[in-house]
């Protein structure tokens, strides 16, 4: 059997609680992060992603202690992102028990951050998160600051640059698809997975079991991430895995 495709629940954390919005706004409370993480691990999640979607210093401390509790209770890998802008930020999170760190806006502002982190901690624990927004001409550009600001930079160019600088994995979110539950951005994922030789996590748009099959059958994505559908239990991780297994897509059951 080959390497399996990963299903990754994403936990957006604000003020110590999991929240979920649509297209990065209208946040709703989804409960306790540690309890949710433990539930997902028990259900067969392959990995978890925690995003700190606030970044004041006070909230940062809460987030760090939360990450420690997660590491104590959950025995599957997890990535942490949100507001990481220095080696010290990354070090604190890795020391608290995170397995990988994900960088986004700060890396766009200072691309050398990616190489610094890769050199110090190894490429395998540096995830580049890119928020992609489709333009009127069909091209995808990189957005920063939680999807609010268009940088005008081409997504493909940025991802290629980040991989050259040592990013070991790409978390690619389509802002257009996020929260819409109409499927992943397949054409974007096809383009990106054809261009880079590191694993790519597809994010934004999962709404049905078939959407997960589509992203693995039609693109080179290595993992698929979802939030709202899992938090609400409109679709569960075991359902996704069983469905993919029946479609002969390699998954860990």
């Amino acid at each position: 059997m080959p390497l399996t495709k990963r299903i990754i629940p994403c936990l957006d954390v604000k003020d110590g609680k999991v929240v979920k919005g649509t297209a990065f706004v209208n946040l709703r409370d989804m409960g306790d992060p540690v309890a949710l993480a433990a539930r997902y691990a028990a259900q067969g999640a392959d990995e978890l992603l925690f995003l700190d979607i606030t970044a004041t210093i006070q909230e940062r401390k809460i987030f760090l202690s939360l990450i420690k509790s997660v590491a104590r209770q959950v025995n599957i890998p997890f990535t942490v992102g949100g507001g990481i802008s220095s080696e010290a930020d990354a070090y604190n999170l890795l020391s608290a028990g995170a397995d990988k760190i994900s960088v986004n806006s700060a890396a766009v502002k200072e691309p050398a951050l990616v190489s610094k982190l890769a050199k110090r901690f190894g490429s395998q624990c540096v995830v580049l998160a890119a928020d992609a927004g489709m333009q009127a001409d069909g091209n995808w550009q990189v957005y920063v600051n939680g999807g609010r600001k268009n940088t005008g930079i081409s997504v493909l160019c940025w991802i290629e640059q980040a991989v050259q600088m040592g990013a070991g994995e790409i978390l690619l979110t389509s802002i257009n698809n996020d929260g819409g539950r109409k499927g992943f951005a397949l054409s974007l994922l096809q383009e990106v997975t054809a261009r880079v030789q590191v694993p790519v996590i597809a994010s934004g748009g999962a709404g049905s079991l078939q959407h997960f099959a589509d992203v693995f059958e039609q693109t080179g994505a290595d993992a698929a991430l979802a939030a709202g559908i899992f938090h609400e239990e409109s679709i569960t991780i075991p359902q996704v895995k069983q469905y993919l297994y029946k479609q002969k897509i390699p998954v860990r059951l």
Partner: protein, 192 residues
């Protein structure tokens, strides 16, 4: 039981600590030669690169301490690779306990990240674990299959998922992150 995790600033040891805590063990984190020698079991963790990891071990005089251990020692991920003679990563000379050369994985996508099955399981470390069980891997380099291989995995090519020579054990996957399967392997190590 006194279990020492070798402290050589190779990154993240807390996941290993938490996993051992779940098994009722409170490990000691130490870079002290006497303390490591006196342990019942030793774990050599490892996240990072071979060159800087070896340098750190040498600076603390721990390379010779590790080579001379008689009790069961488990190297995890980079900690397993360091048991070899040398690594292509940073052209590093390693501990040379096991022989062999650590090589960059030959696969379409590097790093190898995720859950892969393991097969041809041998010995007490894998007692109770079915063939083709899934374990969590994160690495770019691997140890080729050899006489020391006690578990194999395939990604692009086949490589050693685990090795053993005498009292020295190494696992390429992360047992501390591999759910219940990983916990079983750690438990087996504690029972050696």
């Amino acid at each position: 039981m006194k279990l020492v995790i070798v402290d050589y600033s190779a990154g993240n040891t807390c996941s290993v600590i938490f996993a051992l805590n779940r098994l009722g063990i409170a490990p000691v984190i130490s870079a002290d030669a006497a303390e490591i020698r006196a342990a019942d079991k030793v774990i050599l963790p490892g996240v990072g690169a071979a060159g800087s990891a070896m340098l750190s071990l040498q600076q603390n005089g721990l390379d010779n301490v590790l080579r001379s251990l008689q009790q069961p020692m488990l190297g995890i991920c980079l900690g397993m690779q360091l048991l070899c003679t040398a690594s292509d990563e940073d052209d590093a000379s390693c501990l040379d306990i096991l022989g062999g050369q650590v090589q960059k994985l030959d696969a379409p996508k590097i790093p190898h990240i995720g859950w892969n099955d393991v097969y041809d399981l041998r010995g007490d470390l894998f007692k109770g674990l079915p063939e083709n069980s899934y374990l969590y891997f994160v690495h770019s380099y691997g140890v080729p299959v050899s006489r020391a291989t006690i578990a194999t995995a395939a990604y692009g090519q086949s490589f050693s998922a685990a090795v053993q020579k005498d009292n020295f054990y190494g696992v390429q996957f992360h047992p501390e992150k591999s759910g219940d399967n990983g916990l079983l392997i750690l438990k087996n190590f504690l029972n050696l």
